[in-house]
Symmetry: C2
Subunit: 198 residues, 2 copies
């Protein structure tokens, strides 16, 4: 029995919630990406499967690839969005999806969600010119325009379920490990390297 609200199958969503209540281990997800540098600010990320709902998950559409670069004013060639633009994209898509899902769960029908996000950054931090200025965004502003049911206050509450908004607002522990490779060492396996060049 499929009942779509905001493109979300609310019957299936209810089942997911019941299953997770009964077995909390199903709620544990691990997402992963791998990145390979090209030069300067240009690199490529591969996103293969993830672990969640008690099993490894993938689909025919994966792996996905994403690229980042810097604009000429930041000494790149603008082949792709830069990393902080990717961060704003992550935040925008997460807030939008969270609104659609949580509204669906409450029977609030939405016809349109549009948003604009702006992030202010003072590059004196990143450039090491001032240690009084942080390296990241000093402030992010998000404006949502929504057509459908629900009040502005209700919709704002639902947007605040966003996992990326939680991370960006409150921070998350990031552990960093760096390993030096010797030039002679074989590169770590990646799918394309399993096949000889054509």
């Amino acid at each position: 029995m499929e009942e779509l609200v905001n493109g979300v199958d609310v019957h299936a969503l209810g089942e997911v919630i019941e299953k997770v209540r009964a077995d909390p281990s199903l709620a544990r997800f691990r997402f992963r990406v791998s990145n390979r540098w090209d030069e300067g600010g240009h690199s490529e990320t591969t996103i293969d499967g993830f672990y969640g709902a008690g099993a490894e998950q993938t689909s025919d559409n994966r792996p996905f690839t994403l690229e980042a670069d810097e604009a000429p004013v930041l000494l790149g060639e603008d082949r792709a969005p830069n990393a902080v633009e990717h961060l704003l994209n992550a935040l925008a898509t997460c807030m939008t999806g969270s609104l659609a899902y949580h509204a669906a769960a409450r029977g609030i029908r939405l016809d349109r969600i549009e948003s604009e996000l702006r992030g202010e950054i003072d590059l004196r931090g990143f450039l090491g010119i001032s240690d009084q200025i942080r390296n990241g965004f000093q402030h992010i502003e998000a404006t949502f325009r929504v057509e459908g049911d629900g009040t502005e206050e209700e919709l704002a509450e639902l947007i605040r379920f966003s996992p990326v908004l939680d991370v960006v607002s409150n921070g998350t522990d990031v552990s960093l490990r760096v390993e030096k490779l010797e030039a002679a060492e074989a590169p770590s396996a990646s799918p394309e390297e399993l096949h000889p060049p054509a």
Copy 2:
């Protein structure tokens, strides 16, 4: 006079730093994205120009578009990476680019940078099953493998200049505004940013 280290023109980088020292207003950047929802967790982001170095910046490659969706286990169709995978991509590309630039500025030559990032999330937070569990990543693990000069400790220090790492580790103020649109209303114009950040 172009001198490339890690694909970064270090002469131009030195000039940027000198110009910003002389006129700190040149360090103010404002990045922006706009997002339009399709259905469920599927939405599309458009990334046009940005403001920085005292002027509006764009290139022939822009606007960029990025998509997000959810996997079937999260009730989507897996048309694109999901928002938290986009967040890991933002973090990976930013740490990688920051390492390349800061190493270049110090004359540390790098031949290869590869990384893997993993983020752990317990969906009982997002699903509203437990208010003891946060909605976002509980922990992110980043492993970098680097070929080239510099010690592991030096390289880790350079990676820590990353603006996205700062945001993800320490959090940033996000202000949220939600406006209801009437069905009849035309979508609001999305004006180009003509004014410098405050």
